[in-house]
Symmetry: C2
């Protein structure tokens, strides 16, 4: 079943201890869609400028991603540049040129509206909300946000996530949104805001999924070498929603299959870990589904007791 | 089968966001032994002053801990005081009065020498080494260390851990000892120093066990409330060695049972999590083995997929 992904398609300049790339394909929507494309039909809604390269479009299409919702306008594509700390746990933004992204007003193609799965990358909450409202027949909807919206657009954000099934954020964002340091209490507060499922990304330490009265925790995959963590959280999101779409996960069935949600967290973790192995989206140029499933099995091997 | 624990028995003054205790029973040996005592016969080697309270001795004895190796001398017992940061991830030492601990020269009672399991709390490496050499018939030996010994007593430390089966340290210590930031590479370097098993404690994020060509990772238990993290790492060590002693884990059998080592990491995590629920050793005044086993099952429930 198909997934609609909304967010930024961008060019990134990235410097890590392993190298420096001036300009490469990036953006939350790109990473989410690439990861999701291994599991389910994936349709994107995004905006790019007339500088958006034919080969980047071809690469997305080669992964079977539906680009009907990729709006092309005059001007430049969103550009972001940043540099990572030596241990890659922190990064400093050097450039944020919104360019055509400043005028992004996502309009869903008619063919997208009945898709059952929706994932909203980190954009202005009002835009996320308008997309959610253009859809009918959703089985599962949710997305990401960030400190900026939590702090300065709190009411707009709360009105937006009230309609979501899941919220997918990092631990600092969960603490900021809930006002609780303790993650169990943070989750309880966030459930009162609407979502019944909270996925907390903890970077190298893995992820926690909270669902009302139970939770699931997975540690991070220990990579031998992290080349570039850019996009890892978005790839997590793509693996998570993609796997649920592949399985036809349905809330309306009246019960939540805890094991399926947990396995979605594992597939999210798998996709995030692959993302770090090369610069930008490069790992997805060669990655195969059998490599993904083999890493899923590795997760089982190093967590089972 | 029995476990010998060597390290500090102390009084601690602790301040956390949840309260302040001026003076309470503490010390690495105390915490390790208390945790181990739920699994195996536990014998301690430590030194205290003439101020060591009868009720503290009675408490240790009530847990079945053998105190034959607890040396009592004139003077004051080791005293440490510290204050935790609001999120309890950092602590500042306010007082370290070694007192009688400065003259600690561990001598094993004859009845301890044939014990099959030895765990060395964080003390000067030369003392750890001398204890190791007083034992015969060991099945498994290892212990803890800290940044101070890694930095300023490196040669002495290397000569000591060369004889150990396992080293149990935190991630910062593993990085410092190995000179490698990446934990997989840090483990590979540490294996060259002697131990075949490396357990890395990651605080709230859990623990990783590396053994030559495989590893096991467990996330941390999500407590609703952390009252006092003092001793949690030592309780982890006590649960780890205690469980292996209970099972009669034997390297000499020619193969390593990976699942038993992994379960030892879980029992370590269980004991560390209980430790945080009350100030100092207080949780161990009421904790039962059935509570421990129930939490072990909880670990399975929140990590299985």
């Amino acid at each position: 079943m198909s997934v609609v992904v909304v967010g930024s398609v961008a060019y990134d300049g990235v410097e890590t201890p392993h190298g420096h790339v001036e300009r490469m394909l990036g953006g939350a929507c790109t990473y989410i869609a690439l990861a999701s494309s291994y599991f389910a039909k994936t349709r994107i809604v995004a905006i790019v400028g007339d500088d958006f390269a034919k080969e980047d479009e071809a690469f997305l299409a080669s992964r079977g991603i539906n680009l009907e919702g990729l709006e092309r306008v005059a001007g430049k594509t969103f550009f972001w540049a940043g540099v990572y700390s030596p241990d890659m746990n922190d990064r400093t933004t050097l450039v944020t040129d919104l360019n055509v992204f400043a005028g992004f007003d996502p309009k869903l193609p008619e063919s997208y509206r009945a898709a059952p799965y929706l994932i909203l990358g980190n954009i202005q909450p009002a835009l996320q909300r308008s997309v959610r409202e253009q859809m009918n027949g959703l089985r599962l909807a949710g997305g990401d946000t960030m400190n900026y919206w939590i702090k300065d657009y709190r009411d707009e954000l709360l009105a937006t996530i009230r309609q979501w099934d899941f919220l997918l954020i990092n631990d600092a964002e969960a603490r900021m949104l809930s006002g609780e340091h303790n993650l169990r209490r943070a989750a309880a507060k966030i459930f009162e805001m609407g979502p019944h499922t909270l996925v907390i990304k903890r970077g190298e330490y893995g992820a926690v999924l909270f669902h009302r009265d139970w939770h699931f925790i997975v540690p991070g995959y220990l990579l031998e070498e992290v080349f570039d963590p850019t996009g890892a959280g978005d790839c997590f999101a793509g693996g998570f929603i993609g796997y649920l779409a592949e399985k036809g996960f349905d809330l309306k069935a009246g019960h939540i299959d805890a094991k399926e949600l947990s396995r979605a967290v594992i597939y999210g973790s798998v996709m995030g870990s692959f993302c770090c192995e090369k610069f930008g989206v490069d790992r997805f140029r060669t990655l195969t589904r059998s490599e993904i499933d083999a890493r899923f099995d590795e997760f089982r091997a190093f967590t089972e007791f």
